[in-house]
């Protein structure tokens, strides 16, 4: 099943098939978790800490209980011993346990937004009213609001741990110290990226139902990693895994953040069992801003060593990630990626980079699309352009000289320790995506504008290259059922987060079964009852892992169909031909698939994999900077990505462009700002700015396929994140190019008008 074979006979795979999902979404027939209602349902509202760091003296819920329509109020005292903690799903290292988050604060609060109590009431409005009747007394402690003060360890979030540093990862390759000693050129710089996050349009929500008679729990509104979350929840609630059904409905965007195990993923199911009533909770946008995983707040002090001709010899230095108040679920991934993938698609023979994970009194972090990669690509691409400029080498030529070559694959990147994670770039010709990007962009002409002031605005261009990791293992499952009417039903262990899985899986299955797309009955995903074991959607893994599992299930289903047909047609199973929805014997007798499946025929398949795919590409941007206001206009942006094999170019391009515009939000607009007391200063979408339809009107995305991945039978590479990864670095380099005559070098994101204006004002040389 893991044999690498070219996926032959593709009729639907590779075609821009219009999405099956759209038919319900466009008519208002999608069903998201807040659309659900149950008889006898209670509504939950959660009291959250308004203090960033403090000791809880008392929480008095007596008055809240008396509010008309309130059913009950739950505090940490009701949750029993030991107080359950939010689990670590990825990199579950023992060192992180001491920094884990209790599902509700009991002794201390460590960030604004931490849960203190849950009110259950007849309506959401009454539940929210009752929150105001809870009296909370918290003794404030000094708040740690940035990684620098965390590093001083003067105030500790966890006194017993003796430090605010949860972990230091180190990425190593070759001998960086020796390379620096002999290098003709070195440059050291400090960069930073700001705290921002995924912000899907659908707020989080859950509906939990407890069936006391059967001891069964159903949790609707699950997403991303249903089976893993069921495993955690079962343990916390003292239930068998099969006593819990996690059900995903339509999901209004994930981007890495939705579907991770949050405190509410315990609190709401617990409340349903506690009250013995269905309980629904839907967060409001302010809650979302202070409770959903934050991301991206990182800094680095990094040094590059080059030969005179621009050949990169080594990278070394230190990175620092602001983790927020707790280590939870996948919080370590971004930090790990900053260190391990700073080299990106480039040949960097010697690497020594450590990254410290520092706790602060802010919302805990988790992955956001391209975790760590957006940050580290900004650091690297900026450093590359600064080095190239100083060495008087064309920035494109500098990159070409250092891109990993096709013949060097598989190319080992730095190894990370502890956790000893090795990785290698799988396949591809990185020069070709750069060629395509520059050609589509019109680089030869546009680059001449670099640094020129036209009609009062400075023009600048930049281009950069990226890689995108995908296809995390260890496994994915798929089940196919040939129904008695001859149609096919697909059950997947993957999860939908709005990316169009149903269409892509239908395309793969139709080709694998050599049947019309219209005969795919339904594509069902997002329930722990559909397949025996599922792993979900993260790390751009669904198409590669789920799609490959589908191929395995299709092969097994065909085998079962042949065996069934052989009995009907009196021939050997291996003699049966399956074509045109008929099974035929060598003597010409045949039976239709519908007749064959008098009883539905089912087969379950799986795909096991421990290697990663590496989609790759290049971005180029043309900006114009108004020196009077600091406003940066994006005049053109081209993004190119090669994903080995395209399943659906329409949805692939949708991922590329959508991710890119998110990345532009991170480059220009989005910022979760805290004050010195740990108060989050953005409380609405009027403060937290994401891109709108008029912000970036010229975006051109191009998707390519070649050099199929050797590690899966589809040859596909995960490609949901590439658009976002390069955006920060390319934009900052374009602004630097525009303002080169002023000597402006952006070192921090976001490039808000205020920041750019200040950079110009502080510029060392004015023309």
């Amino acid at each position: 099943m893991n044999t690498v074979e070219k996926f032959a006979g593709a009729k639907f795979v590779g075609q821009p098939i219009e999405r099956l999902e759209d038919l319900r979404f466009l008519r208002g027939r999608g069903q998201y978790v807040d659309d659900l209602a149950r008889s006898g349902m209670l509504h939950a509202a959660i009291l959250r800490s308004s203090v960033a760091h403090g000791r809880i003296r008392s929480i008095d819920v007596a008055d809240a209980r008396k509010v008309r329509g309130v059913h009950t109020v739950i505090t940490a005292a009701d949750l029993g011993e030991p107080l359950p903690r939010v689990p670590m799903r990825l990199q579950p290292m023992p060192e992180f346990e001491a920094f884990g988050q209790p599902v509700m604060a009991r002794d201390k609060v460590r960030y604004v937004g931490e849960a203190l109590a849950v009110v259950l009431a007849d309506s959401a409005a009454v539940a929210e009213d009752a929150l105001a009747a809870i009296a909370v007394d918290i003794e404030p402690l000094p708040a740690i609001c940035n990684w620098q003060s965390a590093a001083r360890n003067e105030t500790l979030l966890f006194e017993n741990n003796g430090t605010n540093v949860a972990m230091t990862f180190r990425a190593a390759r070759g001998d960086a110290a020796a390379a620096f000693k002999e290098a003709a050129y070195t440059r050291r710089e400090i960069f930073s990226t700001q705290r921002h996050f995924a912000l899907p349009m659908e707020p989080r929500g859950l509906l939990a139902e407890w069936d006391a008679a059967c001891g069964k729990l159903t949790v609707s509104g699950a997403a991303k990693v249903l089976f893993a979350n069921r495993r955690f929840l079962a343990k916390q609630m003292g239930l068998a895994e099969d006593a819990i059904d996690m059900v995903e409905y339509d999901v209004g965007g994930g981007f890495g953040a939705r579907g991770e195990f949050y405190p509410e993923d315990f609190l709401i199911p617990f409340a349903a069992r506690f009250a013995d009533r269905p309980v629904k909770w839907t967060e409001d946008r302010r809650e979302h801003l202070m409770t959903m995983n934050h991301a991206r707040e990182a800094a680095c002090d990094i040094e590059i060593a080059c030969a005179r001709d621009g050949t990169v010899l080594a990278l070394r230095g230190h990175a620092f990630v602001d983790m927020g108040a707790y280590m939870r679920t996948n919080g370590a991934v971004g930090a790990r990626n900053i260190a391990q993938f700073m080299s990106g698609p480039y040949r960097v023979p010697n690497i020594d980079i450590d990254v410290a994970l520092l706790l602060t009194n802010k919302t805990p972090v988790g992955t956001y699309r391209g975790p760590g990669r957006f940050e580290t690509d900004f650091f690297r691409e900026r450093l590359f352009d600064m080095a190239a400029r100083e060495l008087r080498i064309d920035p494109i030529e500098f990159r070409r000289r250092n891109l990993v070559g096709e013949a060097e694959m598989p190319y080992a990147v730095a190894t990370i320790a502890p956790f000893e994670s090795k990785d290698a770039l799988d396949s591809g010709d990185y020069q070709t995506t750069l060629d395509r990007c520059l050609a589509e962009f019109g680089w030869a002409e546009k680059q001449k504008l670099g640094g020129r002031c036209i009609d009062g605005r400075y023009h600048g261009c930049a281009a950069g290259c990226f890689i995108e990791g995908g296809a995390a293992g260890p496994k994915e499952s798929a089940r196919l059922v040939l129904e008695s009417d001859g149609t096919l039903t697909i059950y997947m262990g993957s999860s939908g987060v709005g990316q169009g899985l149903e269409t892509a899986f239908a395309q793969i299955a139709a080709d694998a079964m050599e049947m019309p797309l219209a005969r795919i009955n339904r594509v069902l995903h997002g329930s722990t009852s559909y397949v025996s074991d599922g792993y979900g959607s993260y790390h751009s893994r669904s198409i590669v892992m789920g799609g490959s599992a589908l191929l395995d299930a299709a092969a097994k289903l065909k085998q079962a169909m042949r065996a069934q047909a052989a009995r009907r047609l009196n021939c050997g199973a291996d003699e049966v031909m399956l074509a045109d929805e008929c099974a035929a014997a060598p003597d010409g007798k045949s039976v239709s698939w519908a007749e064959l499946a008098g009883e539905p025929i089912a087969a379950e398949g799986a795909f096991l994999n421990h290697k990663h795919t590496w989609a790759y590409g290049a971005h180029a941007a043309h900006v114009a900077v108004d020196p009077r206001t600091g406003a940066v206009a994006l005049l053109d942006y081209v993004a190119v990505e090669n994903c080995g094999r395209m399943i659906n170019p329409l949805t692939l391009k949708g991922q590329l462009v959508g991710a890119l515009v998110q990345g532009l939000g991170g480059a220009f607009l989005e910022h979760l700002v805290y004050d010195d007391n740990g108060q989050l200063l953005v409380g609405s979408l009027a403060d937290y700015l994401i891109p709108t339809a008029s912000d970036f009107p010229v975006i051109r995305g191009y998707v390519m396929e070649s050099h199929p991945s050797p590690i899966n039978p589809l040859g596909a590479k995960g490609a949901g994140e590439g658009g976002i990864i390069a955006a920060g670095g390319v934009i900052a380099n374009a602004v630097a190019d525009a303002l080169s005559s002023l000597g402006v070098e952006p070192r921090d994101l976001p490039l808000s008008p205020e920041r750019v204006w200040q950079l110009i004002k502080d510029a060392p040389s004015v023309e």
Binding site: D22, P200, G252, Q662
Partner: protein, 159 residues
């Protein structure tokens, strides 16, 4: 309070608290869950419905303010079978991914094209800039709306 208004061509009568928003009334009292609530403060546009022909944010309107009005939701802009030209254009251009902002985009675009079937790309961007989408990057949405203009020209109502 008891209120009466028209939703998608049908008269409705609902008993509501004065503080109930029109969005919550549509979603939870009338079970028209195609209208989505993304921010509850009038910024994201997911809850956009048509009130007497104008695109409005149903999270910023109280249900009682709809007394006597003609309200149209995304369900009312849809056919039982198949897609309208505007919806088909969204599908063709892959102008939606997760689908959460989509009903607000459809209602907003319908109101725009009904009033200004000759609008240009800048006008489409300007009007849609009040509706947030986190998935698509908007390029495909603008293309879809421009491509659907033909169905609204010459007095056409997009049907």
């Amino acid at each position: 309070m008891s209120i009466k208004f028209e939703v998608n061509g049908k008269p409705v009568s609902v008993e509501v608290e004065p503080r109930l928003t029109l969005a919550d009334c549509l979603r939870h009292h009338l079970r028209l869950t195609g209208t989505h609530v993304g921010c509850e403060h009038g910024v994201c546009g997911s809850c956009t419905v048509l009130v007497d022909g104008a695109a409005v944010r149903s999270c910023l309107l109280l249900a009682v303010q709809a007394e006597g009005a003609k309200v149209v939701t995304v369900e009312g802009l849809s056919r039982d079978e198949g897609l309208t030209p505007l919806q088909a254009s969204f599908r063709k251009h892959h102008a939606l991914q997760c689908g959460f902002c989509t009903p607000g985009m459809i209602t907003t675009a319908h109101a725009l094209l009904s009033e200004e079937p000759d609008c240009d790309a800048d006008r489409v961007r300007e009007v849609l800039s009040g509706n947030l989408c986190r998935c698509t990057g908007y390029i495909s949405i603008v293309e879809a709306v421009l491509d659907a203009r033909a169905a609204y020209k010459g007095g056409g109502n997009g049907a």
